[in-house]
Symmetry: C3
Subunit: 172 residues, 3 copies
């Protein structure tokens, strides 16, 4: 079953207005993309709760509420396994990402969690210097506070295009 944070949920009907909480969440979301851009992939699972859902899904599947994603991870364990695999496999051409994140729309749920939606443009640079638009889309997130740390409980990476480089080795 697709447990996607649905459209209604992330629309900012009750926009988060506490400025300090907004600042912390924005810093958290930017910290995530900087960690990936800097190649700190081992830190990636730490941005999630123990049982979090992470999915990369094309927009047409997401909008149709179809569970047909490109990648699905349930739980931090699966995420760590994925990072280990990519560090040992190493059969792909080295490259780096650079994310630009739009300002998130943030709204509060009654249970203390926060829904976030942020646009994102990711460019990829290959070792020889070639650059290209790699992925474009949005993050649709549910964020929780856990032992005074922010974590993603659910992150859907909704890509505009269904044509994705099949390698897709690093998390987005």
């Amino acid at each position: 079953m697709n447990k996607a944070v649905n459209d209604d949920q992330y629309r900012p009907t009750a926009p988060l207005s506490d400025p300090e909480q907004r600042r912390r969440i924005e810093d958290f979301l930017v910290g995530y993309v900087h960690a990936i851009d800097d190649g700190d992939f081992r830190r990636w699972p730490d941005f999630f709760t123990e049982d979090a859902v992470y999915q990369i899904i094309p927009r047409e599947s997401y909008d149709a509420n179809l569970p047909l994603g490109i990648l699905y991870c349930e739980g931090r364990g699966m995420m760590s396994d994925r990072i280990l695999a990519l560090e040992t496999a190493n059969i792909f051409e080295p490259h780096t990402y650079s994310h630009i994140l739009g300002r998130p729309q943030l709204s509060e749920n009654g249970d203390g969690t926060v829904n976030a939606r942020s646009n994102v443009h990711i460019t990829r640079t290959m070792q020889d210097g070639r650059m290209e638009i790699y992925a474009v889309g949005k993050y649709v997130d549910r964020i929780v506070m856990e032992n005074s740390e922010l974590r993603l409980q659910d992150r859907r990476v909704v890509l505009e295009s269904r044509r994705v480089d099949i390698l897709l080795v690093y998390p987005l």
Copy 2:
């Protein structure tokens, strides 16, 4: 006559400093681009005042203060007509936009309106998955509060390139 918000006006000589007003305006500007990216085109005129001006104009015309734009709408009625036309015509290849908006420079006018200037990069994704940089430029806006709702009184979409896909069916 070109009623463009001129350069002097949008330079932040009196930067908006009230944090709550800044947050609301930033949410409003991001809400606009998310609405278009999500295909909620019917909501588009609601972002404007009844008699607002909306123009898409190449930078060279804008900088020279020439009225030669790519698209000009005066009033919410013209905007609604445009959306209706695009929904019925439907002769173009389906595609979606994704906007990334830079942080706006905001300045206050004496009359309660706020000038905003934000950079924007828009990518377009066609139905078969092709992605491209579609439009790059800036929004130069005058924003008013109307019945406790923010609205655009004047929006100039100033594009870096004068080579624009002639279709340009959706608002930017």
Copy 3:
């Protein structure tokens, strides 16, 4: 010697939390990119302290702590010379930049300076309308308050690609 702001320094171990100071710094960083996008190159040196360091460097050199940059300026004088040279030389094809800046990670040093790291995507538009991703990377900065004005004491423009158009006439 390469006086690069090193990685440890710009990681936000002590994130800047004062909202008013954050707003001012964010406005300052956006003001910098808007000045360049608007072609106000003469204002460029004013964003720096008198003895500031400005460097454009590929990521692989920066990460390896090698001083092999693409451009190095020490002091506002060198920066002004560079701007004068580009205004008189004028042997390149006219073009404009458009920067989109990500939200900066900001952290405080004990001495009153602030470290900033912001991602940046720059597109270039040539006079005939051609657009392309020109440079992608991050700004790694040390910012100071000088006579109640913010200034860059050190800015490293760290580019993902080492393939850079050799012209590189405007500051990034």
